[in-house]
């Protein structure tokens, strides 16, 4: 279901009670300017492999849950 953007999160410790200014669009300053490289693809595989290792160590997931999650991630590598 389409929904409106979420409200801004309040800053609790940093600036208690201080109203936040409007959201400013800084995407141009942060945007990636170059296409993905082979190094990026290798890092993406390492990133996903890290998630898979984390799942394997997860003491709260069942073996079936781990298998499903790992299969999902392997499909995204």
């Amino acid at each position: 279901m389409p929904i409106d953007p979420p409200p801004e999160p309040p800053l609790i410790i940093e600036q208690p009670g201080k109203p936040s200014g409007p959201i400013v669009d800084m995407r141009d300053a942060f945007a990636r300017k170059t296409p993905q490289t082979e190094e990026d693809r290798a890092q993406a595989r390492a990133f996903i492999d890290g998630k898979i290792e984390m799942i394997r160590r997860d003491p709260h997931m069942t073996d079936a849950e781990k298998a499903a999650a790992i299969a999902d991630l392997e499909a995204r590598r």
Binding site: M1, P2, I3, D4, P5, P6, P7, E8, P9, P10, L11, I12, I13, E14, Q15, K18, S20, G21, P22, I23, V24, D25, M26, R27, A29, F30, A31, R32, P35, Q36, D40, Q43, A44, A46, F47, G50, K51, M54, I55, R57, D58, P59, H60, A68, A69, D72, L73, R76
Partner: protein, 197 residues
């Protein structure tokens, strides 16, 4: 996210302070360490095949970094907000924002609109909306303090009405310890934690 620069100790490969928003195709906006190099703020978009979208060193984030006090100690902090929500039928938006400490407001740094079904967002691997220190070594020693402060979550109901921001609590998160050498400095269940080694 609380991130010293550099991480110190024996970190010699990747180490992340990260969180997802528990959407199957959501966006991860996080602090990335590599060895003792300057940490980077990075965005990994799970909805894209070209997933790496932002990679900015802390040296270029002066306006976004600050220092705050928690439990009597000062910690360097980068305030990060990642969101995923439906903008039309089978259309979703991923966003990442950083809090600009210099002007006092959130800056939109990344946005991506894409086609996806509710099922894609809610099934499969969705990870954790609780922040984590994601490890890549078997044992960490003498690292600087790192973690997350003031983790908050908001969600919408089935009618698309947003609730209110809430500090992450023990009812929607749990403490996980992987025995990689990190020790808890403090935990405020479960919206703030700092670890070192």
């Amino acid at each position: 996210m609380c991130a010293h620069c550099p991480p110190g100790g024996n970190v010699n490969t990747w180490l992340y302070i990260t969180a997802t928003n528990r959407s199957g195709l959501g966006v991860e906006a996080f602090v990335s360490y590599y060895g003792q190099d300057t940490p980077h703020f990075r965005v990994y978009d799970w909805a894209r095949t070209d997933s790496w979208q932002i990679d900015i060193p802390f040296t270029a984030l002066d306006n976004y970094l600050t220092t705050i006090t928690a439990h009597g100690a000062r910690y360097p902090v980068l305030s990060v907000w990642n969101g995923t929500w439906s903008i039309a039928t089978n259309q979703y938006r991923n966003q990442a924002l950083l809090y600009n400490q210099a002007r006092g407001g959130w800056d939109l740094v990344y946005q991506y609109d894409y086609a996806a079904t509710d099922a894609q967002q809610k099934t499969g691997w969705v990870d954790s909306w609780a922040p984590i220190v994601e490890t890549f070594q078997s044992l960490y020693v003498q690292t600087n303090p790192m973690g997350a402060l003031d983790a908050q979550v908001i969600s919408s109901d089935n009618n698309g009405v947003w609730g209110t921001w809430e500090l992450l609590s023990s009812s929607d998160s749990y403490l996980r310890t992987d025995n990689m050498g990190f020790n808890l400095v403090f935990l405020d269940p479960n919206y703030a934690f700092i670890v070192n080694s």
